[in-house]
Symmetry: D3
Subunit: 242 residues, 6 copies
């Protein structure tokens, strides 16, 4: 099968990092098509940037959807997830939704570790949107932005470990989710140091999409995701109208 993996920001390093991490978990016979936003911010840290990411998702889903068996949104806020499900018939997985679902299978409660404190409310909204408000123990920020955290994982690890430890001891978490797509390298160190499972979101979403395809499931077109009228579609091959 052929799965699209969208990096909704414009950083090719981020695309490469998430694709690499995802390829480690796909089964043979699954081809990953990495897709990167053609314009917009290089990282996504707030509502306006999340919107830009959603635009990229819609444009790329529209352009490539007909050649794919499934799609993955590689950003923890799942920008454009509902719109992509509306656009496509093949299943669409979001990094945040998939990571939280995996985490909910591994322990009583999970916490999400994110970068900036200002991004916590957006993620808390995402948690509630998926119905995980009682399963998510907390969303904790480490206090540095995405770019910084991703560019030097070794430097970032202690801050994530400290936030994770507080989630475990103060908030009742038993599992952690990396609330950002480019942090795969941190996972082994955190698992080793904290002794709990750490879910890396993009691989979890790729694996979920693979599973949905294998199960022969497609997005329901009966109501909310019925599909937009043609007027709503970005013109093929062009960036989404901003």
């Amino acid at each position: 099968m052929k799965l699209g993996l969208i990096n909704p920001n414009t950083s090719p390093e981020m695309t490469a990092a998430m694709t690499g991490a995802a390829e480690e978990v796909t089964s043979s016979g699954t081809e990953l098509v990495a897709l990167t936003a053609s314009d917009g911010p290089a990282s996504i840290d707030g509502y306006v940037e999340d919107l830009a990411g959603a635009n990229a998702v819609v444009a790329l889903a529209h352009e490539h959807g007909s050649t794919l068996d499934g799609l993955v949104i590689g950003c923890f806020g799942d920008p454009g997830l509902a719109a992509a499900r509306e656009l496509l018939q093949v299943p669409v997985a979001g990094a945040a939704q998939a990571a939280m679902m995996a985490a909910a299978c591994l322990g009583h409660r999970f916490s999400i570790l994110t970068t900036l404190d200002s991004g916590v409310p957006l993620l808390e909204n995402v948690v509630r949107h998926y119905g995980f408000q009682e399963t998510c123990a907390s969303v904790r920020a480490v206090g540095s932005d995405v770019a910084t955290s991703c560019s030097d994982p070794e430097l970032a690890t202690p801050a994530f470990a400290a936030a994770g430890r507080r989630a475990l001891t103060e908030d009742g978490a038993e599992v952690l989710c990396l609330g950002c797509a480019g942090l795969s390298e941190l996972r082994p160190g955190l698992e080793h140091e904290l002794g709990v499972p750490v879910v890396d979101a993009v691989p979890a979403a790729v694996s979920q999409a693979e599973s949905l395809v294998r199960l022969g499931l497609r997005t329901s077109k009966s109501r909310g995701f019925r599909g937009p009228t043609s007027a709503a579609l970005p013109e093929a091959g062009e960036p989404a109208a901003l």
Copy 2:
């Protein structure tokens, strides 16, 4: 004071209709600046169109924000509301949030009357997002799209009255919200026929924005709406008012 009223779709008739309805409720001294999306769909009925509406809101908020005392999003799904609050310091009101708040002051439960059944899930998400899941008795669709409903209100009234009557008798609603921005003309007929208050969303939001300005309140910049980095801003126009 000067309030921006954004119509996130491109229909000038819709802009005129909502501005007219809003002007009837503003106090003297309040100037309404009507703003219409420059591109995107002519009406907003699903997730992709909602996203296009959000783009229009961000672009118009960014372009006009520095000259305004408050902003209103004139579409019942409140596209781009969080992004606009992130962009601006002046208060931003959304038609759906304001209408539901007004409705919650008038009766035990309210129902929302919308156009297409496929739009119900999006609105149910909006209801939950604002915490009105226990106060909202139902979201009911009349089964014709926005354009049809708005173009001939007389024709649309019986369908809305029928949906409203079922909301009152079957769902326990005591108040109704018109879940679409261009239906102001239907309100008097529905109130007369059904005998309950009917909230027209855009005037409710304009009045709420006016109230927030009068109270001297501004959007909190302490965390979730702190404001995007410049990289996130649309290129055209001046920097967002901060």
Copy 3:
């Protein structure tokens, strides 16, 4: 328009203070009719006192309702709000409900600052009653009673600032509500010191009532607020406006 503003306790100083604060936010053409409880406690700090406040609201609403376009209950617990809505056809705003609705438009979560710790449960019930349990980050008490806090705002400010700071840093609040009607003088100092919007409840409720009147909305008489039988009405005065 003519709005009644009820102080449900018997303190004329409190009535004067809240009326003064409210007059600053009304538009020209709005007349405020200040109404003070004729008997009962001088401040409202618990369930029995809340009940006395509700009695005052019912008596004053019954006596003055027929001459008013809207009514405001000037006490953060909203005593008698449902009964007043049952009694009157004109809209009735409660200080707590209006303040929380304004706060919910300005940030992701708000906290309420109140006087005594023993009053926190009552306010937590009010928060849940309105459906704000996920939007309200916390109710925090400063530890001195209403009378003390109101009589010397300068003295009270540091305690409120300290409680507010903990709400911002520990509870995730982005907006604060003054959970008591007589604290208007504290607002500018707190906003300045804490850098977040602070909602003063009575002006917020007066503004909300003004807005509801302007929108032509009245309380639904279809079910829960249908109106009491005459046997239920207090004897004094005219029949309630119906």
Copy 4:
């Protein structure tokens, strides 16, 4: 032990009926002291009447509390329950809370059968206040008022049976609560006809109070029910200030 049983309305027939029903379930050694509101409405069907009932509860609790080992509020809306708990150290049981707790021990979900449709919202608020929103399948009204239903139980039974049957077949209820204090005579007939347990609220509350006393439990005075200041208390021997 000596338990006060307050009828918050002024109907001596209602007091007699509920006391008779309660006496059938008390153990030997328990003395019931029947207390009837000295003024206020003869039945309680809405918010203003509920407030009058709460006043009666406060006045009677204040007057008789020192001679009692426990108190019961004999009205399904539990008027004045929080205030009575604040006033007294001995445990206070409410008919609605006790009935719902008993019902929750007997089946997956219960429904409440009440008199007038206009009373449903008040009871739905009570259900939520106690946290039974997921355990309560529905509140259904039979469409006649309290006085009518109580005065001729034989006449009332078919309407209650019809409402109960719909609760069982349409709402998923497995247990029914009689949502009114004077309907004890209906219980055997309804249980026989519908084949499910029917909880009579006042006996359930008397039994709960007896149980709490026997367990040596008293109302917590640590915070919310700490107790009012003397200024809040009705003057002994006089009716509560309305």
Copy 5:
């Protein structure tokens, strides 16, 4: 009446302790039949042990149910409660459910004090299962296992007092529940030291069962607890009382 009191673990000391505590609160005329698990663990601290306890409850309910007027499960996790309600027509009370219901009548919020931190998630699930997630302030563990806590109450008291004090001051609890069946001896000391009501779960459940029997209530057999097919019944003994 004759009430069965099941100790779902195999410790006869625990059976004796809980029976002794329960006998202090039953009324004359109530006979307690103490039943102890014939095999399984000596204390119940996790999911596998909870399942063993549930097996014991089913076996003992099946064997003794036909001779009883009511049944009580004497373990704070209420193992086998739904199965016992399915098996029997007489009312079945669970220690956790009954204790939380009593606690909810005595204060705004309660906390549960349990033994091991690893048992907190199981109890949090129980809290949510009964709908007490908003009434339960916290579940706090003292950090020693059941056997240790029960074998030397004097030694255990300081740890429980410390956990309780934090529940009162940090979590907003006003009432405490002993989250383990064998801790009755701790109750007087904790009440004295902390100044709040402390609910001992097994006596609360015995008293609740007595109350349900006295009220003439039986488990609903209309749907979820209809009763298992004979194939589901344990082989030993007589058919379940139906």
Copy 6:
């Protein structure tokens, strides 16, 4: 990898059916080890039978866990899921949890189609336990038991189609879950007739387990699933003590 697939009832036909359906979705390299309860009921329709299923799960997990990379519980009520997670370090998937998670990725709301009406409350509890109460539109029963439905799928299809249609048109479902493990043959017919995705639970759970293993995730042992003391374990090689 080697995944255990437990059929918690004793029907070898059911084991064969679910294993066959699951093998269609596993990737090459995944070996399924089918495990059938050695004693207990031939189908699981209520709480006592659910408990027997849980016992079988614990016994089989204990016996085979050390040779497996992951475990799947092949029964829609997920009997023994928490206990198996407590017992094992490898990930454990439950049919109900996995099916609901898949369904939540495909539409706004899903409904569960089950066999007997008496089983609805148990499944509603499962839905709430996983936090899907807002995503699950309804649990609908077709009115015939598991054995009947499974033995003749062609006969069963019309009843399931009728229940599914009502879920789609009356309850707002967009996706359906087959709420029973032996109904795989019904899926294609239902999807074809109703035009929405239908999730078959056991394959979904097998695929989820495969995904969790591939992601290198294991059950958290930090708190709730820390692992039972040896006293709690069934003796190796013997059936669990009932």
